[in-house]
Symmetry: C2
Subunit: 234 residues, 2 copies
């Protein structure tokens, strides 16, 4: 377990609190406590009362829903610096999905009542939170658009591009390297298709040299071949 002294350091990794001075961060430290989670642990389940806000200091967390048949929808894979949930402040409610640790994690926890009080005193944090929530809304709307206006192979390519924004890095040759490995099953569960379709589509994309697999198994995406509007490559 981390000692209380390290909390300011932990908090400063989180974008929401990053630019704060030691003085400003002090009241937040008061209300925050760190927790260690091992892989496969559940942080909360869908339907649990929404009483705490979490900030990931290290490790990875999967936010997902599942239906009665065990079919799974991965909403997001969160990592260092990410906050969750993104909704539910100032109204008693419940978590809307399950949160499961996928890689051992150190997570800073703040009771939501304290977090709300803090927000009321700090317009700067409100602004940041508004921005974060806006980004989330825009992201969700884009994902919905992908689901509704595009066919499966387009969805897969758009998923890779979207993941690349978070987990990828731009290379000197203009292509993007997606350096976090997801299994085909995970990719499938993000867009509601089957692992077989992911497998087949990815090998098509490789034949067309839009996607490459490097020696470490990372995706290399030739973004220059991908026109976001037209997808003339498909």
């Amino acid at each position: 377990m981390c000692s209380t002294e390290t909390i300011p350091t932990l908090l400063k990794k989180v974008p929401l609190f990053k630019e704060l001075t030691d003085e400003e961060i002090e009241p937040i430290v008061e209300m925050a406590y760190p927790r260690q989670f091992r892989a496969r642990m559940l942080i909360f389940m869908k339907g649990d009362p929404l009483d705490r806000v979490f900030f990931i200091h290290s490790g990875k967390v999967k936010i997902y829903k599942s239906d009665i048949n065990g079919k799974e929808q991965i909403i997001s894979i969160l990592q260092e610096g990410d906050m969750f949930p993104h909704a539910g402040f100032f109204s008693t409610g419940n978590y809307q999905a399950h949160a499961e640790v996928v890689e051992d994690a150190t997570i800073i926890v703040i009771p939501i009542a304290n977090f709300e009080k803090l927000l009321l005193q700090r317009p700067d944090l409100c602004i940041k939170l508004f921005k974060m929530m806006s980004e989330r809304i825009v992201d969700l709307q884009n994902r919905l658009e992908e689901q509704i206006l595009h066919n499966t192979s387009e969805q897969i390519l758009m998923l890779l591009l979207r993941l690349a924004k978070t987990y990828g890095k731009n290379r000197a040759d203009g292509r993007i390297e997606l350096n976090t490995q997801f299994t085909n099953r995970e990719l499938a569960n993000m867009i509601g298709t089957s692992r077989e379709t992911i497998s087949r589509t990815l090998s098509q994309l490789r034949k067309k040299e839009i996607v490459e697999l490097n020696e470490n198994g990372y995706f290399i995406i030739a973004t220059d071949l991908v026109n976001e509007e037209l997808f003339y490559v498909l």
Copy 2:
């Protein structure tokens, strides 16, 4: 055109400002101006700089995206009291979709810079806006789940249930009356299916007596037959 005197009255129809006193609403009146729109007019297009926030006093507005082939995704149909957009505050950006008037509308416009200034001075409005954005996030996540975990006929039933929350009214017999007419094409464009499939599925639902059409063409949904988790009726 409305005269300036009526703006407070107009503003009080909007949930965000509903509970304000005359005194509190005064500075908002200063920065707001009403505009009349006729059906089929575009309020803004996707990509336009996001510089104003709109509040619907009367009429209906369709928020939608479309792809190069003309295929349309209806994001929402907004009505009296609704605000749009729901995202993009405190960051220069663009509108993410088109906004088109579908029924002649009176809309109150506030320049976003003024709106942001107002928020900074009014924690009560911040709280309300946080709640509204949270609701939007939860709604979008649910719609994404519908798209990913459910088949088309389930999606259609869930769409009707979702629309019923906004446009429907509960009847004495426990069923829900959906009293805003959408065409099959519009319903199809909300979930990314074809009008033919909507037509066929609705008649199946009618055969199973889950959905009824009353004399005015409104849907009557037998919600007691619909278990949200199981959909054993399908």
